[in-house]
Subunit: 105 residues, 2 copies
């Protein structure tokens, strides 16, 4: 039935499904290790700093995850939000560069 | 170069690109009409209430967009956040239903 959905709807579902499938126990929160494994597998280009324990700890602290607590969907969403906002800024800049190029031509 | 990216990274990019391409003037905010057009084209299954002016006004109010102001990426992200959280709840419920079924078998 996937062909019913638009690219945007599929994208939202992909984000949710990735979080769900990262839990080995079908839980609603991920352990820090499950979260780290998901990031290195699914976000290798966008998040390059969480490969070691120190980087992971910093990322979890940035997302306000308390030490020893599970990573909730809301925590994960904070990361997605920050990545999307960065991408939005990058793409806005690209457009501006294009506009400057246009006006110079 | 798209094959370098994982499904999750493509999903984040899709969300950002959809917002960018919805602007006819390459602006960083959308007019209410551009926003409505994007929603009816790209989110027809997930957002069914914004087809008429009343529904659109209610949605914009829910996203805290002031009357007459443009829709920013942050406003749009508020909608995506709410849709993803709903999807997360639905998929969690499905898992619970499956678990109950399992334990009954």
């Amino acid at each position: 039935m996937a062909e019913q959905y638009t690219a945007l709807e599929v994208a939202i579902n992909t984000l949710v499904k990735n979080f769900h499938s990262a839990s080995s126990t079908d839980a609603d929160t991920l352990t820090a290790q499950e979260f780290q494994s998901m990031i290195s597998k699914e976000l290798p280009t966008m998040v390059t700093t969480a490969g070691d324990q120190e980087g992971l700890n910093k990322l979890l602290a940035d997302l306000n995850v308390e030490e020893g607590k599970g990573v909730t969907f809301t925590d994960f969403w904070g990361l997605v939000d920050s990545l999307a906002t960065t991408q939005f800024g990058l793409q806005s800049n690209e457009k501006q560069v294009k506009c400057v190029k246009c006006s110079l031509m």
